[in-house]
């Protein structure tokens, strides 16, 4: 497009949120958002709305379909969900858009959030990006593959293998039974550096914890655990050689850290980093 200053239309703002804008115009919208906090707040809320819809209603996809809605022979059908918007969400996060609805709606109740929108560098450290993505994925996604009802907690190892096979990944989720967390499902998320495996766990009181494991393009040394917080979601993340890990949950940080240690020691068979 030759005209750099073509005004951004209302339609284009929505297309930006829904991930259907051309790369070129998307960059222009992002520039406009950087310069206009009010507009950025509005667009952030639109993103949040889409996330909230999924967070609220995606669980229906995993409910058993009642008999009356099964005129054909019942069969186990896997819902082929498509998530074209993950890339769009990641782009939104670069702009520091929070995941909680309303983080930008209070007048100035959250100055740190608003401030970071303008100051966070676009090329954020890639392990930090993983933490952002993990926090969003924790809130947004439900398992694509669920634990079959006939696979009880006593058969955790069977389920681990079964889940990895179903997802088509050689990444095996660790077992967090020591803290009372059981694996409940998983899904693969598309990402710029290839796929990220996301595993969901449920605690004794129904607490939800997710673990994201993504292969990194650049091999790097093992890092210490770092904490990232986005709204109510805490994320511990670290890098170990070829892989980045992120453990997310809206639970007590101490418990989350213990879980992270368990993940670390199982996946590497070593003592946790500092």
């Amino acid at each position: 497009m030759s005209d750099q200053h073509m005004p951004i239309t209302e339609e284009e703002l929505h297309a930006y949120v829904d991930g259907t804008l051309s790369d070129e115009r998307r960059a222009e919208v992002e520039r406009a958002l950087e310069q206009n906090p009010e507009l950025a707040a509005r667009i952030s809320d639109y993103f949040s709305l889409n996330s909230l819809f999924h967070e609220r209603y995606d669980r229906v996809l995993n409910e058993p379909v009642p008999k009356r809605l099964q005129p054909a022979a019942p069969r186990r059908s896997r819902v082929a969900a498509n998530w074209p918007q993950f890339a769009g969400l990641a782009a939104a996060l670069v702009l520091g858009i929070g995941i909680g609805f309303g983080t930008h709606m209070g007048q100035d109740a959250m100055p740190t959030m608003a401030g970071s929108a303008n100051t966070r560098p676009v090329s954020a450290d890639s392990s930090e990006m993983l933490a952002h993505q993990a926090a969003v994925a924790h809130v947004v996604y439900m398992p694509a593959v669920d634990r079959p009802t006939d696979m009880s907690v006593d058969h955790e190892q069977d389920f681990v293998q079964w889940l990895a096979n179903r997802l088509g990944t050689n990444v095996h989720p660790p077992m967090l039974a020591r803290q009372g967390f059981a694996l409940s499902g998983g899904r693969l998320l598309p990402g710029p550096d290839g796929q990220t495996a996301q595993f969901m766990y449920r605690g004794p009181n129904g607490e939800r914890v997710t673990l994201c494991i993504s292969r990194r393009q650049v091999n790097s040394n093992t890092t210490a655990f770092k904490l990232y917080q986005d709204g109510p979601v805490n994320v511990f993340y670290w890098v170990d050689g070829d892989f980045g890990y992120a453990v997310s949950g809206g639970i007590d940080r101490k418990l989350l850290l213990q879980l992270s240690h368990d993940v670390y020691s199982q996946l590497t068979g070593a003592a946790p980093p500092g």
Partner: protein, 172 residues
């Protein structure tokens, strides 16, 4: 695979959309059932190779619009089943703050005019393209865009007004 089998694969998505649209499990499943029955009765009208999902959502829209019309002529409102929100089906275990938001979402959606609610959900939840939404609802794409725009702004206002401050209790 015949249309009938293929149809069943769409049931979870139809249920998800209906649940968001109506916010009452039984009424939402009624809508899905009516949609499936009508679709099964008309599989001959479905052109193989075209988008089955779009066809199903069109049928659902027509069934729902008919019901809404009848309901309003009888001056009976579809109940927003508040009881059901407490059930485990919608329990949000994570945090009080989030579950407040979730309740707000149901509340706000139900206060959106039907035609805006449909568009906002088909785009935001079902992730349909604007063109497919226009086809499913049988309206021009410009109408889709204006409903989307007004619907999102209205939802935003409703959500912002419903819980002042409640979502901002983040411990730093």
């Amino acid at each position: 695979m015949d249309v009938r089998d293929e149809l069943m694969e769409h049931v979870p998505r139809l249920r998800r959309y209906a649940r968001a649209l109506i916010n009452n499990r039984d009424l939402a499943d009624d809508l899905v059932q009516d949609t499936l029955e009508r679709a099964l009765g008309r599989t001959g009208m479905f052109e193989p190779g075209t988008d089955l999902r779009a066809w199903l959502f069109t049928i659902m829209h027509n069934v729902f619009a008919n019901q809404a019309r009848k309901a309003s002529s009888r001056a009976v409102h579809v109940a927003v089943d508040d009881e059901s929100v407490h059930e485990s089906e919608f329990a949000v275990p994570a945090q009080q703050v989030r579950s407040l938001e979730m309740r707000d979402l149901d509340y706000a959606l139900q206060r959106l005019p039907l035609e805006q609610r449909e568009v906002v959900l088909l785009v935001g939840l079902e992730e349909m393209s604007y063109a497919d939404v226009a086809l499913a609802l049988n309206v021009p794409i410009g109408t889709v865009m204006s409903r989307l725009s007004r619907g999102r702004e209205r939802l935003r206002a409703l959500m912002a007004g419903s819980q002042p401050g409640a979502k901002l209790q983040v411990v730093r």
